[in-house]
Amino acid sequence: MGRRREAPRERRRPAVMAPCGSPGRSGPGMAAGGPAGGAHSVCMVSDFFYPNMGGVESHVYQLSQCLIERGHKVLVVTHAYGRRKGVRYLTNGLKVYYLPLKVMYNQSTATTLFHSLPLLRYIFVRERVTVVHAHSSFSAMAHDALFHAKTMGLRTVFTDHSLFGFADVSSVLTNKLLTVSLCDTNHIICVSYTSKENTVLRAALDPRIVSVIPNAVDPTDFTPDPTRRDDSTITIVVVSRLVYRKGIDLLSGIIPELCQKYPELHFLVGGEGPKRIVLEEVRERYQLHDRVRLLGALEHQDVRNVLVQGHIFLNTSLTEAFCMAIVEAASCGLQVVSTRVGGIPEVLPENLIILCEPSVKSLCDGLEKAIAQLRSGTLPSPETVHNKVKTFYTWRNVAERTEKVYDRVADEVVLPMDKRLNRLMSHCGPVTGCIFALFAVLNFLFLAFLRWMTPDSVIDVAIDATGPKGAWTKQYFGRKKGGVKEELPSS
């Protein structure tokens, strides 16, 4: 799984390299010339990483790759996935720690706020980490890492990928926890302005320490291919996990409506999930087996092949911080129809997307409008769309902006213990504040104990394998590059 994951990266690397070579952008020299002076050694912590699939995973991977290109040292820490445990190296010597922690609920580890300290501390010390960058508010491990990093006096950055409501009890609790974990974090990154507003409200933050850095997609991954689509029919593509939050129920309403109206309409649904049964029921009820194809779970490299088969991309999400799917679809030259929720309106300009209300009727209208345009041939050609979208979001850009954040953070001071306690108490309400202040103290004592057990001097420095100045590249990649190139895929 993870292997398959790495394969396309490997193949595409030259393509990624090429623009990277553009004047004065890449290489350690430039990074060293950066404002904060010198490269950072960043530790990305998230429960979600390959072989698991999703937005956060690819974000972490791509960001790390681009940062490595820019001469920083990056390592990823996540929990063990089945037999995939221990330490792995991905492309460009991106080092991944799969820690043996128990998984509690959909790929998020159980947290006691302490048990992960020994491991994480060991990693932070031996990798000489300067910035800890945690991802996704759903990941318990990320919050643990933030907590420990603050205790150890490291700079912390947090990227929030998701939106939360304020209505129900569960979100109230999670927001409280988020408040605790973000109140003394140096900087927060959100993927869209909506997400920024949301995070600021949830965690009661100063909006000034929250940056907006959108996600990106690899335009080289999603290139249009008009030959693949069959123009005798109209194909609507849906690629998403089949869960409630993605509005699959809406889809189950849309499909019969439109299929009855347009006999030449076809639906192509990629993805897996608990709501699949609903779609199957609809298909059976309306005898649409030939026109609605459910492809099941898709590998990342298959997504493009599915997308290019369609004319219109439909996204029925009920909430989205930053919808990567529509960008990918647009990059493949499809006309995007989507619900107007979350950050979606910010993602694409009006002429590329048709925004609808999250209701069957509105979505049907939007789709019909799209179909009408398609028939009248007023839609822009896939290539033009692709070339336009290509300029919007690139990982290189994301990496630059993230680097700025790191530089800014590097100048800031990490709160010492007493200030941190004050902050916690003053900021997170009397009860929670005190509880977590207590936790912080305990954590500090635990850390002191660990330092006494195995002093940092004993912990040996890991060999830095990342990027152009990695220990290994000097001796080996440097000498026989060709050898490695042909070796990696073969193995």
Partner: protein
């Protein structure tokens, strides 16, 4: 033939000896400190004290004899299966790699891999609750790894 001293991940001193038999044949040996009499006696006395305590509680001399047996057997097992004194890696050019680990009891376990079957040599860390052990694996066939635990990365970065 020179010798260097390092500290292992657990902080214990270990010595790396490298000797060049010929242009194409070299040997790397990592030697851990021998079993200290101190720790041995400490463990033994601990066990015996516990046994004596039991004996005092339950007026049963079986306990003492059992304790003696336990210590003896435990010691034998430890020396024979657990305590590794020296691990050596013999590299013979174009012939193969031979890994020998000699136990404290003198028992030696040797594995020889032909050069033709060595796909690649990988140095990697493994997570082992807190300390990070270093493994050197010569991968003979895709699915079988030959592990030899070398407690210090540097010696391998030297040899590689």
């Amino acid at each position: 033939m020179e010798e260097r001293r390092y500290r292992s991940a657990s902080g214990a001193p270990i010595a790396l000896r490298r000797r060049q038999h010929s242009a194409s044949c070299r040997e790397l040996a990592v030697r851990c400190p021998r079993l200290q009499l101190r720790s041995l006696s400490a463990v033994t006395s601990a066990v015996w004290l516990a046994a004596y305590g039991l004996f005092v509680l339950s007026e049963n001399s079986m306990v003492l004899s059992a304790a003696i047996f336990i210590t003896l057997i435990g010691l034998i097992v430890y020396l024979h299966f657990v305590k590794i004194d020296q691990e050596s890696l013999l590299v013979i050019g174009s012939l193969g790699i031979q890994v020998t680990s000699s136990y404290a009891s003198g028992k030696e376990s040797t594995t020889f891999i032909e050069m033709g079957q060595v796909k690649d040599v990988v140095i990697n860390e493994a997570i082992h609750m807190t300390p990070f052990k270093y493994w050197k694996a010569a991968i003979r066939s895709p699915n079988s790894l030959l592990f030899s635990r070398l407690n210090n990365p540097n010696c391998l970065s030297l040899s590689s």
